[in-house]
């Protein structure tokens, strides 16, 4: 498997720096890490498949209760992996009036909607964790998905002169 063009053009760029940049971008917006690495089609897939459940969950649950560490700390722990969306949701949630205990509110969601919202939001957050790790791994392994690295190495050596067993881009292109 050949080195993707976006990686081969920049042999001097430190792979770990690119991995950190890709990870941070992916944390801010789903798919942005892959977009940064040049895998734009995959970035679109990640962005759609992660943003959709997040927005559906937020629409069903409402940001007041669903994106709020005071009302649901564990859910917030999962959501925080989509940093950009969760930050905006949390800021809006803080500006909404508090809901008095044992009272119905227009800002809160109740069973069964609240349950579905929680599942959607938590799943979206954890899926983005997977996307972040994938972006970091691709940045560190010259764009090859992690599980393909072992099988790709012999071909890569033959076609592109990449060193076998290389763990970073600079090492691979020596």
């Amino acid at each position: 498997m050949a080195i993707p063009a976006y990686q081969a053009k920049k042999p001097n760029v430190d792979a770990s720096t690119r991995a950190i940049q890709a990870g941070l971008l992916g944390w801010l917006i789903p798919g942005a890490g892959h977009f940064f690495l040049g895998a734009r089609g995959l970035a679109a897939v990640f962005c759609l498949a992660i943003s959709l459940p997040f927005f559906v969950g937020a629409a069903i649950g409402g940001v007041k209760d669903s994106i709020n560490p005071k009302t649901n700390g564990w859910l917030f722990c999962a959501e925080i992996f989509i940093g950009g969306y969760t930050t905006v949701g949390y800021l809006v949630s803080n500006r909404l009036p508090d809901i008095p205990p044992k009272q119905q509110s227009a800002y809160a969601s109740y069973y069964p909607g609240a349950d579905v919202a929680q599942i959607y939001l938590a799943t979206a957050g954890l899926l983005n964790l997977l996307a972040i790790l994938d972006a970091v791994a691709r940045a560190a392994q010259h764009g090859v998905p992690t599980f393909r690295l072992t099988e790709a190495q012999p071909k890569t050596v033959a076609e592109d002169g990449v060193q076998p067993g290389a763990t970073s881009l600079s090492e691979a292109l020596k």
């Binding site: 897939v45 498949a49 800021l91």
Partner: protein, 92 residues
């Protein structure tokens, strides 16, 4: 600063029809809870397959297969739990 940002986001959310969605939760239609499983499982399958692909063209077929596999697996778990539930009610 955070408060100001929050106010800006809230004002935007209130002024845009789409933003109001997230402030005033929409009610889930009766009986829609089970159907909500399908889009979520599809998204899980798409992300999982995208993490193993080199280009988007590679993920369409495997995503559909993973989607069906997850649904069948969850259906099997549901049947197993239902049988266990019935056995417990009947014999214990």
């Amino acid at each position: 600063m955070a408060s100001l940002l929050g106010s800006v986001c809230l004002a935007l959310g209130d002024s845009l029809p789409l933003g109001t969605l997230f402030i005033h939760p929409i009610k889930l239609p009766h009986g829609a809870r089970l159907w909500m499983l399908f889009p979520l499982v599809f998204c899980v399958a798409a992300v999982y397959r995208a993490s193993r692909a080199q280009s988007p063209g590679e993920i369409v077929g495997p995503t559909l297969r993973t989607f069906v596999s997850i649904l069948l697996g969850m259906f099997g778990i549901a049947i197993g739990l239902l049988i266990a539930h019935e056995i417990i009610l009947r014999y214990f």
